[in-house]
Assembly symmetry: D2
Homo-oligomer: 465 residues x 4
């Protein structure tokens, strides 16, 4: 009856990695672990602060397009993006997949999940984001601090770690077997209560760390089979849970945004926050629409059958665009690959939405992206984030060029110009009934319909790529 | 500027079919057409009224499972289903597809789309549904009557045809080139007005024919590319259009249900009524939630990444389950195949939702399903509808057995029994805050989590198949 | 440099499971482990040998349709199927998924991966298959015996375990990080050699255990990105590897069938043995076509865009149908779910192919299927296998009825009867050139084309379900 | 029994378009048609020959990247591409889709499908390709000439039209209802013969027009349901048909390449030439491997679950890369959209394969791509082809930069360098058996495995975009 299992698991995975990979490590698990605790030097010794060197640079460890202080459309690049490193992928990702054991070996790891290890890892995180020139990071409670034998001990561990401002925090409510039927939507009352306690604590920690947002990703809030599921009752429970979260946020004076992150499926066959529209419907149905925004992840968008741009626009139109998990999937693959986005055209479309939204603060761009399992060098961590940041920066530069050029928006404006008339205004104000419209239709005869000029629009877009 | 094109098109397609297939026909297009007008005999001469003969019958033209007057769970089978024939597939389907010309040749067709032909075709329809033992039919305005050179003439034609009660009617707002950018969401004001006039008339005709519902399927209400689309403005227009439809319905005293039929895509890349949840969000956002229900089509469900059962349950939970378009797709195919549903297990799941909903009236089961292009015998029309009705009937019988047996619902009830307690009631009433829940979580320690018994649930389901 | 990592990993996962789930267990890891070694009693104490009780039985622990000794079409049911239990899913499956820790806790596990534990687990396996009435089992080398610090020790461990006849064995060449770039297609020569050594040993063990087949599933034989991959060179290496396997098989006198198991992707983006046709092309290109057959898995079939029936027929037509991994996926899910197949119609189609093939021996039906992660009772292991066997048995009974009835095959025969003529025979013998055919086409004029009667075929199929 | 139906159909569709769209046209169908026959002026009056103006040009009717005579890697751009216009999309495409009537209205059309019209249309085609600066075009027999009442008349019509060199020709064996069960794989002997006669004639015409290739796309060579299909017999017929085509090619002295165009499905559920590997297997099985190459279409590639680059590489590795149908699909759409490819990164990958293949002649890049249905201006025809050509040109320029830079190929070379050794050579020569490899594996111990550097490869790729 000892709930310190994840501690053990992580410890073991590390020991395993150590043993298997067998590279000489600075902090061996079995001997002299104290030396690690006192690790004083750099974690990334050969790597300096990443600088902007411009598009012609061949240096992999430089930015070619991202220039933090440069102003684009009246705002610094860093303020458009508010880039954030995802602690779980970058510092807790092991390379394991359903058919494979861990492949990553980072020299600062000692094979334990002790508090000392957690703190050292956090120092590595801070060095990493400093060298990368990023101001923010995001975390799961269980990734930054060891779980404990009891809820009390897990909470105590959490208090010990992490003393720097975060973009957002969240509670990991999907890994532990207790959550196998869901957390807020578990069929078990005790699990609902446990999840509430865990979220309560994670909100407190996020607040304490100056977090500007708090995220809910309901990985197990869904079903594997409708045969054994009472979907209606589960959705009701989820709404009650969110209401309680809103109340608690107010109680502790946390002013950050509450964000829900839609994903259609995986690990469940059907996840309740399927996509932006589904989540918006849920929020409206239960009267929660003013209390939450959405964290749109590009890979989740495509898994739900939409382009990333579509999901961003849907969120924006519903007044719900709160944060972006900047990643991408493989268009031929049916699961979440969480790759770094390297498609310049897609990045341009994303930035069009963000600019239309007037920016994304207090949200930001969190790299919910991981190295490929087969990328095992420490420098790969930098390379991946650099290409991710440069791609988004190219997107911003391109989107700005498109907007300054004006041709594309003019093409769109012209398509709808028949509504920029008196009768158009009447229709848009809800003052044109069917009798009136029929009269007009008869009067006008067969309407003229212009070309949609999609290929021209694509040509204009390509002219800035 | 002569908008009588569809007339010509249909005429031509028929002439084409005639010419190509070249079977001897009773009503030749080019000579002696008057003989057709006076067609007096049966349309389906060798086929009697289809009878229930029970599961052991080998007669393809008999029901093995559907027994209209038999009571299941206190209601006659015919009242559970309220089966309806889709006029467009059964009487206007030609077998054409994007790579192929028409293949169907029905002997009552004379190669014209005259009013006489429309009326004769309607008589064939009535003979068909009578012989099939079905009480209802559904139509598109442009399928039952020839389009006219002007809106006025098209409307006049419509008045001439169809004098029998219908399950629902709808306006065809996707075929004509004027609708290429949408109808209510067209970028052209004149098209918006034209569509309004067409819906106005179709609602009147539906009302006149005693229709119990009116359907909106927005085949072109969506986009091909976000680059040239103002999605927000288009959605606003759609809402205005629906508001006007609601007002007009009330004005003419039509008491039928207004139904929206979700479909994710095809013909557009993205259709605004993507799935049940997306449509519910739209209705809630624009304050239309009490005025509409949904017409769930199984093939559309799977194209949107959901099981049919999921879409039915989502509609039901949102209070929106209004009608079912009973068909199915091919699980390996990415477009709408509109096949007759022959999967007994899926039919059983569908009927579980319908029974939970207390039936589906004033909606029904409309066979929005078509013969395969390669099925070209007149008797195939009967065979396809019979297997479709028998499959649904087996679904109903199986679902009733499941419910009477009670094992499956007991399995589900037990899964959630921890919520059937005082604290459970408190949570469900929204009276359990995070402080209280955390206290309980600490008090209880690690929660027990039971097996979900999915394989047992599948075994119970299979026991009735 | 200590390659005993998987040993450690498994040990740890078990300890973790133990700790987390915390149910009282008979064989604790930390104390008194010797008591476990001497486990004398039954592993499944409340469960007797599963009996055939017929379709009306409500006992979950009985067969309703599978009756091992009953003859169907002149062969005993057990001989049609040659059912096999997959050791890895049933005895090494932990319930872990990419977002979740293990959930299974079996009482016979002591939290170690010692040789004693491996032997005890094997005794549990034998009790399980005996009680289930199954004659065969399948294994991966690394699942039945602990990996060792060196290849030599791993091989020694393998020799100690497993002394009973198997349907097939295989080498696990995807879990260990050394295989992250593939095994036979790794970019590293040393890995190629290591894999060869592992396959060599696994073939020896399979031979020693009386295995009738040996399987290659190339989970990492593929690529994640073509950018960094030399596909042609990798395929050449794969061919060399298979040639060496064929030579070694002959050298040791192993007469079993070598089987390749196609899968389109997962864990790689693209796996070289994508589907049956792709694998057949590979075998033909490299002159290996006579040396291998295919192991068709239904879930892999649907992931590659085909029905299971299609893959079986493709294998059969190419003379390659060797074994069936009996499972299924979720039609809305884009990854391998390895569910027990419960769809009676699909089972019927599968059995039609098997009957046409004259049976499947020396292959069989291996349940490459796993309990859902949320199914955590020991009895669920039995329930899942029973519903899997009963479903296949219903498939066989239905297929036999279809064949005995003859209506469906007559429908097919008639469709092609124009080729059962003199000219048809000429065409089929390759003796009809274009000049001759053109002459005939002009002579005959427009050909008559009959209805394909698909709906009637579906009705006939449903009549036996 | 009058097989002049397609003539009628096309005539009617045109008349319909005319009537519906109702724009003033130069060649009215109903009056003065002779004026059209004598059409002397330009078809595209305001449009001059498209010139290369470089990347900074804002003129939609200019090339920004394609510069026909410019040399890249020692070859003129025009010789790398050998661009070709697809007659069927550009001159016979109507904008019709399964839910919509035609939308295109081209002023040179007179609403008939007469021989005069066919000839005038061909003159428009030649003006178009001249102004575009393209040297080639491709055709279907039934698109360039009116079908006739009999096979003889259809053939006579074909002789009248088209006197200019073509990249390839093909026979349209999918549109006419006689082909509803397939052509070479039809269940009807008469259809097989008819198809043979049609292919015979199309090969002759292609030969006569100096065609350098002849294409087989088997749109209906597949099945809708395995229930009513004898797949093995159908595949045998297909092989016999191809053998006869090879023999006839030789008989008439046609030296062009025979190409098969794989497509997974649509219009059939399963098409026999599913993808490159499936087609290669078919060719090998029936001993046809030396006689055919493949025409890879990018949209077909993605529909079959592969990237376009994958299909090109698979064709190349099998010695089968013969031609490219340059288009793309929508990544979220499950049917063939045949869009002009505008993705620069994908174009770069395509050109990497083409360069590796040493070019593609005597094949080329055929724009099997169509205007969106909603693009209805004549100039859209030019805009679409220009963006298509420019995108491919950017791909070529980028690929050349990548190759000249050498960093990426060096990264790949290094990954495999352990095979560039003596033992590597031994393995690759098939001289390393399992005994030898096991000995080495033991000797070497745990192999070192390097990072795959995928993110770095992506960064290198992006540096040339």
């Amino acid at each position: 009856m000892k709930p310190w299992g994840i501690f053990l698991l992580l410890l073991c995975l590390q020991a395993f990695t150590d043993a298997v990979i067998g590279q000489s490590q600075t902090c061996p698990a079995d001997e002299n672990a104290s030396r690690c605790d006192e690790w004083e030097g750099e974690f990334f010794p050969g790597i300096d602060k990443i600088k902007y060197e411009g598009p012609s640079s061949k240096n992999p460890l430089s930015f070619k397009w991202y220039n933090a202080e440069e102003e684009i459309l009246g705002k610094k690049m860093k303020d458009w993006f508010r880039f954030s490193v995802a602690f779980w992928h970058t510092f807790r990702g092991t390379g394991a997949d359903p058919f494979g054991a861990p492949t990553k070996y980072w020299p600062w790891e000692d094979g334990t999940n002790s508090l000392q290890m957690a703190k050292r890892r956090m120092r590595a995180n801070f060095e990493f984001i400093n060298k990368l020139g990023v101001d923010w990071w995001c975390f799961h409670d269980r990734d930054i601090a060891p779980d404990g034998e009891t809820l009390e001990k897990a909470n105590a561990n959490l208090d010990e770690v992490g003393k720097k401002k975060v973009l957002w925090g969240t509670a990991q409510l999907f890994m532990h077997p207790r959550y196998m039927h869901g957390a807020a939507t578990s069929s078990e009352l005790g699990v609902y209560a446990y999840a509430a306690a865990q979220v309560k604590k994670a909100m407190e920690v996020t607040h304490h760390l100056g977090g500007e947002n708090y995220v809910f990703w309901g990985g197990r809030e869904g079903y594997q089979s409708l045969l054994n599921t009472d979907m209606e009752r589960e959705l009701n429970h989820l709404a009650r849970f969110f209401e309680a979260a809103v109340a608690y946020k107010k109680k502790i004076g946390f002013n950050g945004t509450l964000l829900i992150e839609p994903k259609p499926q995986e690990p469940t066959k059907h996840q309740y926050d399927w996509d932006a529209a589904t989540t918006a419907n849920f929020l409206r149905k239960y009267g929660l629409i003013g209390e939450f925004k959405l964290n749109i992840e590009c890979n989740h968008a495509t898994l739900s059958g939409h382009s990333c741009h579509h999901e961003l626009e849907t969120a924006r139109i519903n007044g719900l665009l709160g944060n972006i998990d900047a990643n991408t999937g493989d268009p031929q693959v049916g699961w979440d690959t969480d790759q770094f986005l390297v498609d310049i055209q897609e990045a341009t479309m994303i930035m069009l939405s963000v600019i239309r939204n007037g920016g994304i603060a207090p949200g930001g761009f969190n790299f919910d992206a991981k190295l490929r399992r087969e990328s095992t060098d420490v420098e790969d961590l930098f390379i991946a984030h650099i290409i991710g940041m440069d791609t988004m920066a190219r997107g911003l530069r391109n989107a700005a060029k498109l907007i300054e050029d004006g041709t594309l928006s003019e093409l769109v404006r012209k398509r709808y110009q028949s509504f920029d008339t008196e009768i158009g205004a009447q229709i848009e104000a809800g003052k044109a009934d069917f009798d009136f419209l029929e009269k007009k239709a008869k009067e006008w005869g067969e309407p003229k319909v212009a070309s949609a000029k999609q290929e021209l629009a694509e040509m204009i877009l390509q002219s800035v790529l």
